[in-house]
């Protein structure tokens, strides 16, 4: 039997999936994921995941927006097209605050969203785990699904299947490796 891409196991509740994730983490598996219809509180710790670096990315976006606004307003009002308006100085920074604030927000928001896309590898319209016929789809409805991938060094088909049975999985599904040339 060919090695599958991954093996999926479904559980009945968020609590059961958290327990399964803790045991999977403790058993030394690294390439695994927990699919659920909503984010489960405490799952990051249960899976042993580090904090997302997205905060730093958004901060970078915020500073980028701020710098853009400051440079743009300074260059346009004081360098390229200096014009006396209401007797104010060319670089009247107090009046530049609102736009600087708005562009800081815009930079942070864009960085947060597109940074999240990058970290999550989105958009990505094909992924081997989508080959699952049965269990994965339930995870956007009411399913709580653990996936252990065959790329994990500790992976063996029989070993993982037995491990999942011991975890109390309700259902188990093998997701086949894609055949060559099947990529769209």
């Amino acid at each position: 039997m060919a090695k599958p891409y991954c093996i999926l196991a479904s559980f009945d509740s968020p609590a059961a999936l958290i327990q399964a994730a803790e045991k999977t983490r403790d058993a030394g598996y690294k390439h695994f994921d927990c699919y659920s219809p909503f984010p489960i509180h405490g799952m990051d710790a249960a899976m042993g995941l580090k904090r997302s670096p997205l905060g730093l990315i958004a901060a970078g976006g915020a500073f980028g927006g701020l710098a853009t606004a400051a440079l743009m307003q300074w260059w346009m009002s004081a360098v390229d097209y200096p014009l006396v308006l209401s007797g104010k100085p060319f670089f009247s920074y107090q009046a530049f605050v609102p736009i600087a604030f708005e562009l800081t927000i815009l930079g942070a928001a864009l960085a947060a969203v597109f940074g999240m896309f990058a970290l999550n590898q989105m958009p990505q319209y094909h992924h081997p785990v989508f080959e699952s016929d049965k269990l994965l789809k339930t995870s956007s409805d009411n399913g709580f699904v653990l996936a252990i991938e065959s790329s994990d060094p500790a992976f063996s088909t029989d070993g993982v299947e037995q491990f999942m049975k011991d975890l109390g999985a309700a259902q188990i599904e093998h997701v086949a490796q894609e055949e060559e040339g099947e990529h769209v």
């Binding site: 509740s13 968020p14 609590a15 958290i18 994921d33 927990c34 699919y35 659920s36 219809p37 909503f38 984010p39 489960i40 509180h41 405490g42 799952m43 990051d44 899976m47 995941l49 997302s52 997205l54 958004a58 743009m72 307003q73 346009m76 009002s77 097209y81 014009l83 308006l85 209401s86 104010k88 009046a95 530049f96 609102p98 736009i99 708005e102 562009l103 927000i105 815009l106 942070a108 928001a109 864009l110 947060a112 969203v113 940074g115 999240m116 970290l119 999550n120 989105m122 958009p123 990505q124 319209y125 094909h126 992924h127 785990v129 989508f130 994965l136 789809k137 956007s140 409805d141 009411n142």
Partner: protein
């Protein structure tokens, strides 16, 4: 100790009635989008409002052909309905962001039932608002001069002008609201993709779901992105209406040049926006049988927000008179007397009654439980908030420093048709949203069900 134990037995009212299963939520919300036929009022309503949208198109077309002379704007009232309608619509948008961002930061979990449709309301209201600054400029074909883009005059916009701040604030507001709304939609679009029965639906929802898998390795980044967006949208929404108020407050016109304007405008915006949310939610929960998801408890909370913000608005109206008197400034005092007792007193008292007296009814529990009372009150508040902007914009300009240049503003039929037309735009978009996009955030509602808490069963066992 015993009293503490007693406390833990006080059960909060469930956010979603009937403690449904996750699957029930998926079925209930997806079925609305997946149904082959919309509810029976949907198509006639779409026909009516898209006709109004045509009215907007026609009025704007005639405006482009003939020029802003078709409107009632005339010296001394160089600002008229365009700015009134702009502020009115932007204000309505603010409730959506308040529900999606500020209530998220405050962990108000009840928001999950209404945040999707309230955010959609924000987007469509801001679209209606953006129509007016774009078309009021006269020569619409050079509207890009508002943006810092190179142009044939080799000039840059004036960054010291509040009007330019407004361009940035409202555009950023639209973009961030769109991002926030779309990020919230991704998991639900993936649900629809996974349930799709036809290839076309699968491809379309699949494309918009961006390949969302729903694993915790994605949720981890997703949740932080959502939190960050809420974190930046909160100061943004407060800044947007503050900047809108700068359009007035930074000028030297009596009745406009006041420091209370930013908080007063923000409170008014949230007030009017919640009134619109209440109007829409009453209709939506009835037509789509969502009474167990958008519960009476939700409506009760919305009316309490209306009461609170209504009091803030009432305070602002009153303190303006005190400030005008206390300033000792003749012109400032005059304009406020003119507002309440002058030629526009009728508009002032419509505003005051609708915005200050009407919400007081929500002190009474019976009013917070009565759908007809809530519905009528929400409409009256929306009318009152339109008149608030009318009073601010029109009265201060109509009677300025020189009595010889006083005037009385009268709208033309084109002012009225353009404004009515924006309701066509708003409701056409909202009806399309109800038909093609899940109107309740399924993944978020599932997340606040008792069963979603990983400690749910433990508690019951210990209980």
């Amino acid at each position: 100790m015993s009293s503490l134990q007693g406390l833990s037995k006080v059960k909060e009212k469930p956010l979603i009635e009937g403690n449904p299963s996750f699957q029930w939520i998926t079925e209930k919300i997806s079925a609305i989008v997946e149904a082959n036929r919309a509810p029976k009022y949907w198509l006639p309503a779409l026909g009516f409002f898209s006709s109004l949208l045509l009215v907007l198109g026609g009025s704007v077309g005639y405006l482009l052909w003939e020029g802003v002379g078709i409107w009632g704007v005339q010296v001394p009232n160089a600002w008229g309905w365009a700015i009134i309608n702009f502020v009115f619509w932007v204000g309505i948008g603010h409730a959506g962001t308040l529900i999606s961002a500020i209530l998220f930061l405050f962990r108000q979990k009840w928001r999950t039932s209404i945040n999707r449709s309230a955010e959609a309301m924000t987007l469509f209201a801001v679209m209606c608002a953006l129509v007016f600054p774009a078309i009021h400029v006269g020569r619409v074909w050079v509207v890009y001069w508002m943006f810092p883009l190179p142009n044939q005059m080799q000039m840059w916009p004036n960054f010291r002008s509040p009007l330019l701040w407004d361009v940035f604030a409202v555009n950023v507001y639209f973009m961030v609201s769109l991002l926030f709304w779309y990020v919230g939609l991704i998991p639900d679009l993936a649900t629809l993709r996974d349930r799709a029965t036809s290839k076309i639906k699968q491809v379309v929802y699949g494309v918009f779901a961006l390949g969302w898998k729903g694993g915790n390795r994605q949720w981890k980044h997703y949740e932080l992105a959502y939190l960050l967006l809420a974190g930046v949208a909160t100061p943004l929404v407060l800044s947007v209406h503050s900047v809108v108020s700068f359009d007035f407050a930074v000028s030297q016109v009596p009745g406009w040049h006041t420091t209370i304007f930013p908080p007063y405008f923000v409170a008014g915006a949230i007030f009017s926006g919640f009134a619109m949310v209440l109007t829409l939610m009453i209709l939506v929960r009835k037509i789509y049988n969502l009474e167990s998801i958008i519960t009476m408890g939700h409506l009760d909370k919305i009316t309490k927000v209306l009461l609170a913000t209504g009091l803030m608005v009432g305070y602002a109206y009153t303190i303006e008179f005190f400030t005008a008197w206390y300033s000792g400034n003749e012109y400032e005092s005059f304009i406020f007397k003119a507002r309440a007792m002058g030629p526009y007193a009728w508009a002032y008292w419509i505003m005051f009654s609708c915005n200050v007296f009407v919400p007081q009814i929500f002190w009474f529990k019976a009013a917070r439980k009565s759908i007809p009372i809530m519905f009528v009150a929400s409409i009256l508040i929306n009318i009152g908030m339109w008149f608030e902007r009318f009073v601010i914009v029109i009265t201060s300009l109509a009677q300025d420093y020189l009595p010889s240049s006083w005037g009385y503003f009268k709208p033309t039929i084109w002012d009225i048709l353009t404004f009515v037309g924006t309701f066509g735009l708003f409701f056409t978009m909202f009806l399309l949203f109800l038909r093609f996009v899940p109107m309740v955030a399924m993944s978020e509602v599932k997340g606040v069900l008792p069963a979603a808490d990983p400690h749910h069963h433990e508690e019951e066992n210990h209980g």
